[in-house]
Symmetry: C2
Subunit: 343 residues, 2 copies
């Protein structure tokens, strides 16, 4: 016999027996069904109280067809910006009763697609996406077919779709960095960048807005977004004649690779070559000289994205066109200096 002191173990059937009604009637009372007599309601609620019945939250979520879990599909968890974003999102979701499951795609479109499908199969109620290429046709198709709320994190909305998103104003931070380089006398800049997607495109646009309108020159080395390619790009920069006076490593992984390569080659950053990096505050501060960076708050992006997703999970008709923009900030440091024309 089930004890009333063990409320977790009381079943809906036992409540029904005690109340002298059918199990389905108990369900109807507990789900607030309108078509229930006052007498029925009183009998069921009295039995619930006597038996200290508590509905199983998992069974409940099965009935409601919700899992109280959210998926975060990340392009690349070896990027600390993304793990910080995930931590921010998870904190907000947890506070609202949701668990967060994460996947990693190692920067490949194929894995992004597999991961989104896996998360859907595991019945997540919603998705936060920071995928490798949101405009790729299969990804676009998947996003247009998807049947749960989605929020994009620092990505573009694929053409023709209406998906809420949170993103950073990468252009303005980069424009400030370019402005600083220009003021110091740099008239050309090499940008290590990663193609037509966010955030690469907007970072480039920010630099371009300063150098091109003023008649400076502007060179882009396009590489896949990894530490190793940051090093590779610096090797190319150092082989150029005349040697460029300023480089912007437009991404934290490029910055890491650039610093390693410049150290290896014995280049005096600041004196021989001005360098602007991205995001990695600890490395920027620990490096000698300290590295000027365009910085942002990834945890905040995660928090804001989670809140936006929660608004859509609520079942309310939150507008799917919502776009929330967060700032980026140029942090000056001695890695940026006047061009050394006597070199």
């Amino acid at each position: 016999v089930t004890s009333a002191n063990n409320p977790g173990r009381v079943s809906i059937r036992e409540v029904a027996e005690r109340a002298g009604v059918a199990s389905s009637s108990v369900s109807r009372v507990l789900s607030g069904h309108p078509d229930v007599s006052e007498d029925m309601k009183a009998r069921v609620l009295s039995a619930v109280a006597q038996l200290r019945y508590a509905p199983d939250p998992f069974a409940q979520s099965l009935r409601r067809q919700t899992s109280m879990s959210v998926g975060f599909a990340a392009s690349n968890i070896s990027n600390p910006i993304l793990t910080e974003t995930m931590i921010g999102a998870e904190r907000v979701l947890r506070r609202h009763g949701y668990s967060m499951l994460m996947t990693d795609a190692e920067g490949t479109v194929e894995l992004d697609i597999e991961n989104i499908e896996t998360l859907r199969r595991r019945r997540v109620d919603g998705l936060l996406l920071s995928v490798t290429d949101e405009q790729q046709s299969d990804v676009r198709q998947l996003l247009s077919d998807i049947d749960v709320p989605v929020v994009l994190v620092d990505r573009d909305v694929p053409t023709g779709l209406a998906i809420p998103r949170v993103y950073f104003d990468h252009a303005s931070g980069m424009a400030s960095a370019a402005q600083r380089l220009w003021e110091l006398g740099h008239r050309s800049v090499v940008v290590i960048s990663g193609g037509p997607r966010l955030p690469a495109r907007e970072r480039l646009a920010g630099i371009q807005s300063v150098f091109q309108t003023r008649g400076g020159t502007f060179l882009v080395i396009e590489k896949p977004f990894t530490v190793e390619h940051g090093s590779e790009a610096i090797a190319e920069v150092l082989a150029m004649r005349p040697r460029p006076t300023a480089v912007v490593a437009a991404g934290n992984l490029y910055t890491r690779g650039a610093l390693v390569e410049l150290r290896k080659r014995g280049v005096a950053i600041g004196r021989d070559l001005s360098l602007v990096g991205c995001d990695d505050i600890t490395i920027a501060q620990l490096h000698q000289p300290a590295v000027a960076i365009v910085s942002r708050e990834p945890r905040r992006a995660g928090e804001v994205a989670a809140r936006l997703l929660l608004a859509h999970l609520d079942g309310s008709d939150a507008p799917t066109e919502t776009e929330l923009r967060l700032p980026t900030l140029f942090v000056d440091a001695p890695s940026v200096a006047e061009p050394n024309t006597k070199r």
Copy 2:
């Protein structure tokens, strides 16, 4: 009508119709059931070939009660060692047809428990665990109750349980570091460490094995495992009189915090204070002077752990007592030097 050129859409019912048998018979043939006549087998296989029937892998996994997904419950994804481990594990699992779902616990026992429960509710087939405190009684209970294969990653097996694990030989790398400090003339060392669990305990044991047996002194500052606490510990070290000559930041997050604080305080690492750190190769190399570290291969740990889990998912009777130990390596650098006794 389903086209034979569209094999993904052919249902088991269509195969049954073509073969002139019941759907259940098709299932029996395809699952290799022994109680099937040769005639039945021939008719079904012929129909399968004609219709180019391919079983739906998801439907198949539902029937088999497997989800072809594995959970990785991490204590703290802001630690790059863990994300690297996850990447290694995911690569191996994917090659074997499994997706990997990850969770983060921000270094708290409560979230570890919630996350493991969430992953089980999402019906993962197995779990990789690198939790905050595997000996905590609720975690122990959960691990003893769990009904899917588990592999522990760089954690102890909780008392009384038999769970396979992969871990690093933290003691030996740390003993080499301590040996180097001793040879240079250091007779006391302060260790920034994090309590009685792996890897903290074994790192401490490695240093102790050198300093205590030789009659040196050995002081431990125990702190929660975060960057901020690494900074805090260094502030305490610098307040000690006589000032210690050598510090081991026994964890990558402590190392980061220690370096930031030492820079802030203007301490000349190497000359004024010898420092041994952990794991973060890029920072260790970029720092001036370069930082001596105890290093390891977290991706390999992830790969090995995933292979161990796959052996158990196979349904084979792989021994649950399996323990696989991976090496750690002391990498010397100028952050470690003779004690400056003239200070």
